[in-house]
Symmetry: C2
């Protein structure tokens, strides 16, 4: 099975390498096809996301991606945004759940943030009306709204709680979020066996901060999703810098392609030191295995990560240990079981 590997920059090569080792240890044979993105690509090809990388994902359909930096100040558009738009990866999925052994204020968190990935304020439509007056357009279309809400309900179908929460700000954006809300309600009608609730995005933030354990699947437009997925990750995070972002996996799905990615940064300050925590990309690889029909191997990885955190041996510094990328990876592999 050929899968594109984007190592990225900073700690990217180290953590993706760890993920490849763990995948190999499950016995699933993956032929990784490397594709450049981030600072090395910008240096080598003058472009942080070369067209060839997009082409390779189009050819092989699936990619695993480490953190990639979009160099600032040269007018480059964000690599992540271009990947999503170029491949029409319309759904970003971020499962956030309490991990054992990681001290956090909140427990029993088990939610998924589903984010519309192609529209809203990310459509890139902006203009200067007169000097000092700028308008950005927040775009909502029926097609994209229905598609993302349906996607969320399909996820909820296979989860225990069977609850979908739609987040909006329809009392302020009566037309755009009015349309989104109308679409969400119409889709919800098709799923009478799944509970549906609609809440203003500020209420959702408040409730997440107070007690995130009541949520199951959350679905929303692009920028709300950006904010809420980081907020949710923060709530289950460990003590290290980046906290929960070092633990949560990410996935971006389109009709034809899927990209699995760690959503944390590339941490250039510790790059090459061997200290990086690879869990986020290892868990992203587990989601990837599920996507390519190797759910059993994916589930084994997920269980192994949990056992590793529980045992607390070989953990990296951000998790309060004194281990390295190598020691934690070896623990995960050991914990894969038979």
């Amino acid at each position: 099975m050929q899968i594109v590997l984007i190592e990225g920059d900073g700690i990217g090569p180290e953590v993706t390498q760890a993920a490849c080792r763990v995948v190999a240890a499950t016995g699933v044979k993956v032929d990784w096809v490397k594709a450049p993105a981030g600072i090395p690509a910008a240096t080598q090809f003058g472009e942080p996301l070369p067209e060839e990388t997009l082409e390779m994902i189009r050819r092989y359909r699936v990619a695993l991606k480490g953190p990639c930096t979009t160099p600032v100040g040269k007018g480059y558009r964000s690599i992540n945004v271009r990947l999503r738009q170029g491949l029409e990866l319309f759904a970003s999925v971020r499962p956030v759940n309490t991990m054992p052994g990681v001290k956090t204020p909140y427990e029993k968190v088990d939610l998924i943030v589903v984010r519309e990935n192609t529209e809203g304020l990310y459509a890139g439509l902006e203009h200067e009306v007169v000097p000092g007056v700028v308008e950005s357009v927040r775009l909502v279309t029926r097609g994209a709204a229905e598609r993302i809400v349906r996607f969320a309900f399909e996820l909820a179908r296979h989860r225990g709680r069977k609850l979908v929460t739609f987040c909006h700000k329809a009392d302020v954006m009566r037309l755009s979020d009015g349309l989104f809300l109308e679409c969400a309600r119409a889709v919800a009608d098709d799923y009478p066996f799944i509970q549906f609730e609609e809440k203003p995005v500020d209420n959702v933030c408040l409730e997440l901060a107070m007690d995130p354990s009541g949520f199951d699947v959350l679905v929303m437009e692009n920028l709300f999703g950006d904010v809420i997925s980081d907020l949710a990750a923060g709530l289950i995070g460990g003590p290290g810098p980046g906290g929960g972002l070092g633990l949560v996996p990410g996935a971006n799905f389109g009709t034809r392609y899927a990209v699995f990615e760690a959503v944390h940064g590339s941490a250039p300050d510790i790059a090459g030191k061997g200290w990086a925590n690879p869990i986020a990309v290892v868990r992203s690889a587990a989601l990837m295995l599920e996507h390519v029909g190797r759910g059993e191997a994916g589930a084994r990885i997920e269980r192994a990560v949990i056992r590793t955190l529980q045992a607390g041996v070989g953990l990296t510094r951000d998790l309060g240990g004194d281990g390295t990328t190598t020691t934690i990876t070896e623990q995960i592999i050991k914990n894969l079981g038979a």
Copy 2:
């Protein structure tokens, strides 16, 4: 001194009444001028925010406001948004700090959210391009951006930490948040004695969720402010529904007028039962006293609230007690000291 009092609906009359009692007990003589808004106003005048109410605030300059419900489904625009726009209350200020005796995951939180109140997606500019395709406009102007950032620096000047954090999403909204960021940097240059940092809004949410104690003054555009002020309130909240919103005061400032308000809802389910926690509006009244030059009385109220929470006597149910609006108000008055 004449000050407009908007009692609002639901628990509004009970909690504003409590605030008036506390203010009276400080010895500051206020002649409250009642003005209608919310459900009673909608019923009586066919308009939840009658023009006369705006006129009264224009006349007396300052108002204290309880929670007001904008009735849904009749095409009314939000009372809060209309107040802010009609009076050009360009700055919303939400101080969020850890209160003693309230069990929360975080300690030592002491931050202020400063929110631009007149533009962004709240400008109300939306249109349907074709059926199923809607655009909302996010407006950023140099004048409003500079004004709000300057306001934040002026607040920071009088606080211990002297740190202003500007939240943006300039990597995605290069023109609109690019302009805002440029204005923020220019204003920051005028305050070399105050530390300035700029952070993407998603990072800020992550960091708030992980450890809010590192922030001092946060400044941002309208919708980011909506989300982040509720998030921050959630982090210091008590166990009751609404959590931190029952504790944090709110203020909206313009060049000429100021409106002080509880930002929680009107809790119709407990209205009239005498159970409502008045602390948010009592503390808003303390901010109001500071604004009208009675800072010493305001500070006494703030200290009395803290002592009351510390002592834990007479607290309302949302705070884990079995008291009433009356018992907690009497405790606050008792704790005003000489």
